[in-house]
């Protein structure tokens, strides 16, 4: 029995070791090297999103270094190297690892971990050691309202995640009055719907239902039954699994409304598996491959264009990682681009000069516009970038297909009202 125990332990250990052989690609250091430090959730619940984010960042770094680095006016050339550790999707070691990145690994700039919770812990350390940190995947507004002066957000903040849906509703049916909000009772979704409610009420809407559900909820009947019959819009949701179930049950219960706008799940290609139930559902995304932010649209708005076009980014990403980029990938890439743009404009990698360039930044990229708040109350908050809204429709064969419907500048199709159920 004991021998079996030893054998079992050895086999298990070997299999554990073999299955975890997934080392990310290293990046060669150049002569004049600026080190970018970050933690990445290589393991744990945030693994998928965080891996795409690092892929995006690595692609950017490889391209910049491959093109010979950033040439500064004084003739110096800056190349980038990265240093990162696994934070296991947990907060416990984030501060320890960022302190190590700054003090032991001499990181010059920082990128945030994925998610607002982990970023909050990292931001304290970044500010303490006077390091600029560009955040990606950290949408919560509160991170930028704590008095930090060196933390810059690349995502549209949570407070504006669904407000565009209200604008769509106004445009589609100006006489609409009633909105029902059903949301996951967690930090992210609650942050989003609190501001959604405020925005809707400012626009003259009446929020007739405002209910939070537990993250593990699988039966939404008690919430759906509370929706008044004459409601004009249903909004809310939370993360992928619960939002998908909510959308399906709204369809199954034949609730009639003008629009349904939900968080996180609708932009995912897997959402199409709902079939009929996904048709007309609107979702917001930080970036969509379909979205058309171009040099021309930048010129029209009088904003400087920076970086590759959307097509170039998608092509390079697909070639490098053999998968379609998600908005997490674009977020990681853009976090690098923000630093690149600021260093180029500052003509230096000095923190104070780069900070000044970031404060003054107003650029258009394939990902959208990038501009940061500079007031003392919300310094670093993203104020330029807008969410892209997609809506599911049917193609000619009757299969679900998503279209960008908002903002009008990047739209590929006009939004439409939910068909009667």
């Amino acid at each position: 029995m004991k021998r079996f125990g030893v054998g079992f332990a050895v086999v298990l250990s070997l299999s554990l070791i073999l299955t975890s052989l997934t080392a990310p690609p290293g990046v060669a250091a150049a002569e004049k090297t600026v080190t970018i430090g970050f933690t990445a959730s290589q393991t744990g619940k945030l693994n998928v999103e965080a891996t795409r984010q690092i892929n995006g960042l690595h692609l950017w770094m490889e391209q910049v270094n491959g093109a010979g680095g950033i040439k500064l006016p004084d003739g110096a050339v800056i190349k980038f190297a990265d240093k990162f550790y696994d934070d296991e999707s947990k907060k416990e070691r984030v501060q320890e690892l960022y302190t190590k990145l700054i003090n032991a690994d001499k990181a010059d700039f920082l990128i945030s971990p994925y998610s607002s919770g982990l970023t909050d812990a990292a931001a304290v350390i970044a500010q303490q050691y006077n390091r600029i940190m560009v955040t990606a995947g950290a949408a919560s507004d509160s991170t930028y309202k704590k008095g930090y002066t060196l933390v810059y957000q690349s995502y549209t903040p949570a407070s504006r995640y669904l407000t565009g849906a209200v604008d769509i509703l106004v445009k589609l049916t100006p006489k609409s009055k009633k909105i029902a909000i059903i949301h996951e009772n967690d930090k992210f979704a609650t942050d989003v719907v609190k501001d959604l409610r405020k925005y809707a009420e400012q626009k003259g809407f009446k929020v007739v239902l405002f209910e939070g559900y537990d993250s593990a909820t699988a039966d939404f009947s008690p919430f759906i039954n509370k929706i008044p019959a004459d409601v004009d819009a249903i909004m809310g949701g939370g993360h992928f699994a619960d939002t998908t179930t909510l959308a399906r049950q709204i369809y199954e219960k034949k609730i009639n409304t003008r629009i349904i706008a939900l968080l996180v799940a609708p932009p995912e290609p897997k959402f199409a598996e709902l079939g009929e139930a996904c048709i007309s559902v609107i979702g917001s995304s930080q970036w969509e491959p379909l979205a058309r932010f171009t040099k021309e649209s930048a010129q029209k708005e009088g904003i400087a264009w920076f970086g590759p076009t959307g097509e170039e980014f998608i092509k390079a990403y697909k070639a490098r990682f053999t998968e379609d980029p998600s908005y997490h990938s674009a977020g990681g890439y853009v976090a690098g681009m923000i630093l690149q743009d600021a260093i180029q404009k500052a003509g230096s990698a000095d923190t104070a000069k780069v900070k000044a360039a970031l404060d003054a930044m107003d650029s258009m990229t394939f990902y959208g516009r990038l501009k940061f708040a500079t007031g003392p109350k919300d310094h670093g908050l993203q104020v330029g970038h807008e969410m892209v809204y997609i809506q599911w429709n049917k193609d000619q064969q009757g299969k679900p297909v998503k279209q960008v419907v908002w903002p009008a500048a990047g739209a590929t199709a006009p939004p439409f009202v939910c068909p009667a159920r």
Partner: protein, 322 residues
């Protein structure tokens, strides 16, 4: 005072005192951060050991006291403007109070039923806090960066937090020893071996278990406040993580339950290993596999924990390692 001459009493205290003293003396930030994680684990594991090791009651949801205490302390800090030390004590006291009330009910359960009930308490606390607006509801609470200025800036604030944690870890070890070697502690050990027999012999089991539960809940509350103050924010998902509870159990088992030295060795060893593997260039992509394999081997071959194994094999060290 006789206790002071016993190595089992002073050895853990000297180890932690010297360790903290060296960190303070060298004054290196990276070292402080590592020591913070390790000492936090020592404090949490030793607190759990007071219940688990001495009474044999397995609390799977002990992290609830870290979360509730952390929330209360953070609330006192941010909304009521209490100084850190007072807020941490406040957090600890609330945890102890809740443990006292809850303990009266759940400590009537034994074995797996008690373990399951503690998980339930943790989930209930998470659900309560997620809907409790004074504690920020689902979005939690945060402090402005300027709060650290009260402690001389963010750097000194982190050092102050570390010193408080160091003192707390020393206090847990001291209490752990005193409980074990008191008449009260002997009653607990009797409960661990056979609760019914202990009651027949005159041990007031329900009362003794509740007091133990209260003691073991106080320190996680203090540590929770310090940890969340250092992070600058608190939210339900971070405060009531079941995996931290399970890690606490692993650390106690690894070092040797029912000993004062065991949780110190288990917690520091476990967290040091995790930290080393996470940042080592060779193992950083394999850290979970290596940590898992080592845990497996230790539990397979050293079921009494490191301290238990040494005590069993080296007779001379039996009085040194308590």
């Amino acid at each position: 005072m006789k206790a002071c001459q016993t190595p089992g009493f002073w050895l853990p205290l000297v180890i932690v005192s010297v360790w903290g003293g060296v960190v303070l003396l060298i004054h290196q930030d990276t070292m402080r951060e590592t020591a913070f994680i390790l000492l936090m684990a020592v404090g949490l594991a030793s607190s759990l050991n007071i219940l688990l090791g001495y009474t044999g009651y397995v609390s799977f949801g002990h992290i609830v006291f870290f979360g509730l205490g952390g929330y209360t302390g953070f609330y006192l800090l941010s909304a009521q403007d209490w100084p850190l030390f007072a807020a941490a004590i406040g957090g600890g006291l609330l945890s102890a109070l809740i443990a006292g009330l809850v303990g009266l009910a759940v400590l009537r359960l034994r074995g797996a039923y008690f373990a399951l009930a503690t998980i339930g308490i943790n989930e209930a606390a998470r659900a309560f806090v997620s809907n409790f607006e004074p504690y920020g509801g689902a979005t939690g609470m945060f402090v402005n960066f300027s709060v650290y200025q009260k402690y001389g800036g963010p750097g000194p604030a982190l050092w102050t937090t570390f010193i408080f944690l160091w003192i707390t870890a020393l206090a847990v070890l001291l209490v752990s020893y005193l409980v074990k070697h008191s008449r009260f502690g002997l009653g607990l050990l009797a409960i661990r071996e056979d609760e019914d027999a202990a009651m027949v012999m005159g041990v007031k089991a329900p009362q003794a278990k509740t007091i133990t539960y209260v003691i073991s809940a106080f320190f996680p509350g203090v540590i929770g406040t310090l940890y969340f103050f250092k992070n600058g924010n608190i939210e339900p998902g971070d405060a009531f993580q079941l995996h931290m509870s399970i890690e606490m159990l692993v650390m106690v088992m690894l070092g040797g339950m029912g000993t004062v030295m065991g949780p110190l060795v288990g917690a520091a060893g476990y967290q040091w290993l995790r930290g080393y593997l996470l940042t080592s260039p060779i193992f950083k992509d394999l850290h979970l596999a290596v940590a898992g394999a080592m845990l497996l081997l230790i539990i397979l071959f050293v079921p009494t924990g490191v301290v238990g194994w040494v005590r069993n094999h080296v007779r001379r060290l039996q009085k040194v390692l308590e």
